[in-house]
Symmetry: D2
Subunit: 256 residues, 4 copies
């Protein structure tokens, strides 16, 4: 039994360099970046997962996975990489059904990870004080079919959080310390705060502030990912490595 | 409005050293390790998240989070740590509703992470050829209230996988290369295989085997976690560090 | 032709666990820690590098190398490890014939590395404001036969450096920023300052101060050493790892 | 008292981007790469360490340090970086007066480090089976004024080592295992073998071979260097990082 592309599905085309392109098979004939001018309906009937020539180039077609969504994201701001969002979700114990708040939205890369984690019954609330970022991120979320799980707000999170009983609050802004008191109020008992900061001074100011409120299990981590190159000649770490992304600080709400 | 422990809830008690103890408030008077002899019903009415004296020792009580479940796990075999299960779930694009297979079950630490990720509608199938490991892991899963999302099988995964259309297959056995062909057959198109191995030679044999079958996006990573110690004096990486856990190899099924 | 232990040599005995014991074969019968009661002259005539039974235990005997000296050091304070002294010597371009200043002396581990590097015609000047550390370190240096290349001073380096035209100044005290102006005056043009600090805040205060004076090529590094365990089963990084030693900041004197 | 450039000195010019150019002030008018057409004698009288305009560009002039020599090296082959040569010298306990052998010579970067370490009375013997590499490296060594401490040999080290009683043997060729037996014969008792290899498989074959001969203290290390970026905004590890250089295996000769 084979599995073929149907009409009105969003699919991802993966070329042999592993670039990824999202196409809605219900869309209209247009120039699709990286693929060329095609009528998306022509994709209907192609077998999923089988290398297929489309407009002079070969592609595999898949139903988009979370990893495809990360790779297919259009970037506007610096993004939180999957290696870090993986740790955020695990250390904040985020799961299906949870309600979590993030600020800011950036390009929506963390939003995608969070939306995927809380679906189908949970919700991500995403604050950003820049309307252009929100618009860009929402466009990404629509492409990834995750917009139903996200509510955006054009708000400055340092002015306060209006939600209550949140399962987690994740802050990726330059001054996360200004959100600590708001996060404490907005979290449920036992809920998690996470801040993501590239600089040690940001971590220090944030941890200082966290210690003034009812938080326990305060931990800061750096996650370093090394790719291993495995070839016929042998194995070694990749020469090509991202030296740093950011420090992740976690804390859990208690009552004082 | 306060939030208090009710009857027949499973709660986690966290002492001031952050040791964690799981108790079912519907249980009977007994000696609870780390807490002492108590009648669990006496916990009913205690405020969640407020430091409270119970039998001469102070505890916070929470509704158990995923992190509590990791910390409260009773270990029998070497476990896969949250830092690695976080990457497994993200890189295998595992989400609510998925059906995934793991082998072996070990102490159930990865099982807990996977069960939490696929809940409430998905399923984890866990093979192990040692009945004692399965029993031990299932006990952990029951304590964590995640047993409903897991089906265990006393089977040797190198002999074959009977399931089809799996979203992901995660292998943590000494000879993962012996499962590669079975995993290819059992996976859905676009599904992910992950193997976890401490040794480079295991990675090499596995990648060699993976290359014989229809897999793309074959990547091997090592994830290194450094804790940062933030104190009044300043910040530095912790002197105390786990130098290695294992290499994670990922691959995605295509049709040839 | 064999090579045998002679009278009045200092030798190192290495047991099969690679513990190292320094003995002067011209010494008197005594209880030698780790070896037992022996008359050192009994070692004379034993073949170097051949496993030999001495007092019920087996040892290899060598003429001490720099690495033996590091391993044989008696510790009183926290030491600078060979992995870091290697970088200090290379990045400060220290070589035979140089005159370098260090403060404080600690247990003398960096002193040993520096003395070895500047010998036979150079000199290490070592300031420490604790006479007990100086005494302890000098004892180590005498055992290692490196005391001829070191001059110690019971002085507080934050009060000033009386030497001029130094090839390098290496500072391992809690407040290295208080030495920066003194180091600038004491260095030759093109000479190097190095500070060793475990904390980021120390690095920041030191770099701030360095920028006020005539220094270029200001760099801060962290050197992480991973041991690889190579066995019949395969190879992996050691689980056992020191997570952090210290940050090394280097700067080079210019004229303004 | 000022310190000025004299005639017939080799100096290093450092521009404000920290590029480095070696010039012999006794040389003839020529086009000097990175500096322009100059008569080197015009540099005579310039103050060392003072930013000075030379042909429309500003430079500091120094008497070359070891670090200048590393930075000024012309590369032909992949080089061993100072971070690794520092560890080679320390772990092989190389010091002034030693006689050490290296193979191959590559661009001469390790040769420079070794020559600097054994000077003024020691010797580096450098084998390479490619005359073009030897010529290129010797040219570098002459520029760095270290050629007096090096003797090159156009020989294949896997065919044997003719020297005896060497203090250290350092092997940077693709098949270091083919040199292990020769190295054992050529080393003094207590002398060190070091091999540098990017791949785990090379390490494994080498360690296998080492274990067949009289060697103890067999250790393999990977040294990871992270640069820390210290700015007004705060401190973080550099995003830009070299993910891997090579594995260093050390072993020490004993008699069996």
């Amino acid at each position: 039994m084979t599995n073929k592309v149907k009409k009105d599905e969003t699919v991802v085309l993966v070329d042999t360099n592993f670039n990824k392109y999202f196409i809605d098979t219900g869309g209209k004939t247009d120039k699709y970046k990286g693929v060329g001018v095609i009528n998306p309906v022509d994709l209907v009937g192609i077998e999923y997962g089988k290398l297929t020539k489309i407009k002079d180039k070969e592609f595999w077609i898949f139903k988009p996975s979370l990893m495809d969504k990360f790779h297919g994201l259009k970037r506007k701001a610096q993004i939180i990489l999957p290696r870090d969002s993986a740790h955020i979700i695990t250390n904040c114990a985020i799961e299906s059904g949870h309600t979590v708040l993030e600020a800011g939205i950036g390009s929506g890369s963390l939003t995608i990870a969070l939306a995927n984690a809380v679906a189908p019954n949970g919700k991500v609330i995403s604050y950003d004080n820049r309307e252009d970022f929100i618009k860009h991120a929402v466009k990404n979320l629509k492409t990834m079919e995750l917009d139903d799980f996200v509510r955006t707000e054009n708000r400055d999170v340092t002015k306060g959080i209006k939600e209550k009983d949140l399962d987690a609050v994740i802050i990726d802004i330059p001054n996360p310390w200004d959100v600590v008191s708001h996060a404490w109020k907005a979290l449920k008992v036992g809920g998690y705060l996470c801040t993501y900061s590239p600089l040690i001074s940001q971590v220090e100011k944030t941890v200082d502030e966290i210690k003034k409120y009812g938080f326990i299990e305060v931990k800061t981590y750096e996650n370093i990912q090394r790719e291993m190159v495995v070839s016929k000649h042998g194995t070694r770490p990749s020469f090509n490595m991202l030296g740093h992304t950011g420090y992740l600080t976690f804390a859990r709400k208690i009552l004082l």
